[in-house]
Symmetry: C2
Subunit: 431 residues, 2 copies
Amino acid sequence: MTKRQIHLGLFILGTGSHVAGWRYPGAFDSFQDLASIQEIGRIAERGKFDLIFMGDNLYADPAAHPSYTLRLEPLTMLSALAVTTSRIGLGATASTTYGDPFSTARAFASLDHISNGRAAWNAVTTSNATSGANFGREHPDHSLRYEIAEEFVDVVKGLWDCWADDAIVADRASGLYIDPAKVRALDHDGKWFKVKGPLNIGRAPQGRPIVLQAGGSAPGQRLAARTADVVFSVVQDFAEAKAQYDGFKALLPAFGRSPSEVTMLPGVMPVVGRTDREAFDKLKLLQSFVSGTNALQILSDRFGTDMSAYDLDGPVPDLGENDAYHAFAKVMLAKARRENMTLRDLYNLTAAARGHWVLCGSAETVADTLQHWFENGAADGFNVMPPYFPAGLDDFVDLVVPILQERGLFRADYEGTTLRDHLGLERPERM
Amino acid sequence: MTKRQIHLGLFILGTGSHVAGWRYPGAFDSFQDLASIQEIGRIAERGKFDLIFMGDNLYADPAAHPSYTLRLEPLTMLSALAVTTSRIGLGATASTTYGDPFSTARAFASLDHISNGRAAWNAVTTSNATSGANFGREHPDHSLRYEIAEEFVDVVKGLWDCWADDAIVADRASGLYIDPAKVRALDHDGKWFKVKGPLNIGRAPQGRPIVLQAGGSAPGQRLAARTADVVFSVVQDFAEAKAQYDGFKALLPAFGRSPSEVTMLPGVMPVVGRTDREAFDKLKLLQSFVSGTNALQILSDRFGTDMSAYDLDGPVPDLGENDAYHAFAKVMLAKARRENMTLRDLYNLTAAARGHWVLCGSAETVADTLQHWFENGAADGFNVMPPYFPAGLDDFVDLVVPILQERGLFRADYEGTTLRDHLGLERPERM
Ligand SMILES: Cc1cc2nc3c(=O)[nH]c(=O)nc-3n(C[C@H](O)[C@H](O)[C@H](O)COP(=O)(O)O)c2cc1C
Ligand SMILES: Cc1cc2nc3c(=O)[nH]c(=O)nc-3n(C[C@H](O)[C@H](O)[C@H](O)COP(=O)(O)O)c2cc1C
C-alpha cells in the first residue's frame, strides 16, 4: 500500500481570503484580471496542488468584501486557466438553487473535455438570501435548498452517464458517427426537476467530473456523504476539526461508501514567514488594513443578521439558530465563547479569514501543525486560502511545501494527469 | 471617409456545416476536441476574420447531424480559445428561452474581460421544441419566445451598465475598493423577469459585449433592428439577399438607428478550388457522403414536421406556416419552387449547408460573387460556413481572402484590438 499523503486545494476568491489582502504591498488588486489568475495557476501547479478552486456568489454588494462582489465568472475563468496549466485540477462553484441541472452538467463536462480530465464542480446551495432577487425568485429556506440540491446532484450525475465511453464511432467509411444504442435518455421526472436528456456532450474524460461540497450543517453533511468526492470544512482548532472529521467519515458507510473515498479538507489561511516573528508581523500588517465596515459586513453575512446594531466592545451576542451559514456561525461562535471574545475580536478574526482557521508562523511551525492534523485524524489535507496573492501563495509553495515533500507527506510531482488521479480515485463506470 | 470593407464571421458548429463534412478525407472528426478548435481559431485569425462564432443547440438527437448533438459548451470553449487567439472576436450562442439574464450577462461580461474586449453574444430564441424537455418546461410558441427575448436582451444590456467604467477605485492608501456611487442596481421588474442587480462583475472592456442575432421572421427582424450589432441571415440567391438587406436596413430608423450601425452578414458555405472544376469535384465528393436519414432529419428539424412521411422523388409538399425556423423554411421552399425541385433535391441542398447558400467555384469566382453582393447592396460581409475543417477554411483563407485584400475589399491586418474596433463601432457610453 502506498503511503497516505496530504491533498492540497487552493481556494481563490478574487485577490485573497483576507478582507483587505489586496492592500498588502505588492498584492494583486484586481478581481477581474486573467493574467493574475494565470500567474496564481502557475504557482499552484509549481506547488503540485491537487486543485485550484474558485468560490462564487450570485450577488454584488459594493459595500462588502470586494471579492464577494466582483469576479470573473468561474466556468469561463477556469476554462481559460485550463489552457495555461496542464496538471492541476480546476474546481468551479455552481449553485443548485439558482442553476439548472442540464446546463450545469453540460458546462462541467465541457470543462472536463477542455482540461483533459481536470474539472470539479463545487455544488453549493447558495446561502446568501439576496441572491434570489437577481433571479426573480424567493430564496428557498435551508432545508428546502438541500432537498432541491439532493435531486439536482443526482440529475447532473445521471446526465454525465448518458453517453457510453465508446458511443462516438466516427466511422468515415460507413458514415456512422454515433452508435445510438450507446446513448440513452435520462428521463428524470422528480419533485423538483424534469430532465429528459441525453446530454449534448459525450462522456467526460474523468467519466464524471469530481464533485466538491462545503455544507457544514447536518443536511449539508448528508449530501456530501452521499454524493461528494471532496469535502471542504470550516474549523477553528484541532479538537473541532477532529470531531468534524470523525463525524463526517462515520456517515459514509450508511451510503455504501468507505471513509477513504471522500477527501476531507479543512480550510486554513496560512500566514507564513521565515520565522514566527516575521509571520506575525505580516498578519499584524494585514490586520491594520481592516476597516470596521468591511469586517462587520462579512460578519453580518456569516450570521444572517445585521451586526452593526451591536456594541463592538461588548460581548458577542447570543444569536440563536441561523439559516444561512450554519457551519461558519457555529465554529465562530464556539471560538468566541471559548476565548471570551468581544465582538471586535470576532470581527478581527472574521476579517482575517472570513471565519476560517488562521495558521500563522514560520514554515516549520506551519508544516508541523499541518502534519499533526493530518496524522492524527483531523484532515486528509487542506484547503489553502492565502490571505493575498501572489506572495501569500508563494510563501506557502516555496517554504511549506518543500518541508512536507521532504517528510514524504506530499507528492514530489504529479503522478497522473487527471484530478481523479491526484485524488487517488478510480474512473467510475457508467451507472 | 475610409472605404467600406467586407466583414467576415466564421461559423462553427462542430466539424463543419456540411452534414457529412467530417467524412471528408483529412477533416477534423471530433466535435469535442479543443486542439481542433484552437487550430480553427488560428486559421481564422490568420485570415483576419472579424469573429468566430459558435452555434448551439440545447438537445441531443443521436440520429441527427452529429454537430447538432455533440459539442463543447460555447462559453467554456470560447474562453479557452480566448487564450490562444489575440485579435479575433469570439461569439457564443446563448438562449433567451432557456437561460436567465443575470447568468447570461455575467458570463459574456466575463468572456469580454478574459478576451480583452472580444466577446459577442448570439442571442437566440431556440427553435427546436424538444429542448424544453431538458429544462422541465413547455417550449413557448414563436411569438411568445420573441416577446420574452425582447425583455431578456434589455435586462442583459441593463446589467452590463450597472457599473461605471471608473467604479473600481482600488485605492490601497484609503482602503476604498469600490466607489458605491458609481454602481447602481438595475431594479428591473418586468413581465417576464425580475432582476435586481447590480451585476457581480465590472463593466466590460467593450462597454457592452457585441450582440448578434439571427432570427429571420418579422419578430426576429424587429428584435435585431432594435438590439443587435450584427445580424446573420439565411439566403439562397442575390435577389433574395438584396431584398432582405433592404428590408432589414429600412427597419432601423424607426428605432433611432442608422443603417451603418448594424452589420448584416448572409450565411454562405464556400466550396473553393483552384478551378471551378476542382471546386465542383469537392462538392460532389461531399455530397456522396450524405445519407438519407441524416439529411431528412435536418429537413424535418428545419420545417418542424416529420419529412420521412413524404415521397423523396415527389414534389416538395406545401407545408404552410411554420413555427420553428421561419427564415430557413421560407428561403428553402422559395428556392424549391423556383427551381421545381423534388424532395430529394431539397434534401441534398439541405445536407450541403443546412439550408444556407452554397457558393462553389474557383477562388476568383467566389471572390467575384462576394464582391458583387457586397457592392450591390446585398451584404455588409458574410458569415462563412466551411463545409469541413480545417481544409475547407484553409481554402477560403489562402485562396479567397488574398484576392479580397488585393482588391481593397478586406483588411490586410487588424487595426484595433476589440471586436467593436473590427466592426467599426464606438464603445457605448453607459445608458
Ligand atoms: C471552504 C468553503 C467554501 C465555500 N464556497 C462557497 C462558494 O463559493 N459559494 C457559496 O455560495 N457558498 C460557499 N460555501 C458555503 C457552503 O457551500 C454552504 O452553502 C454553507 O456553508 C451553508 O451550508 P451549511 O448550512 O450546510 O453549512 C463555502 C463553504 C466553505 C466551507
Ligand atoms: C446563421 C444562423 C445561425 C443560427 N444559429 C443558431 C444557433 O446556434 N442556435 C439556435 O438555437 N438557433 C440558431 N439560429 C436560428 C435563429 O436564431 C432563429 O432561432 C431561427 O432562425 C428562428 O427564428 P425566426 O423564426 O425569427 O427565423 C441561427 C440562424 C441563422 C440564420
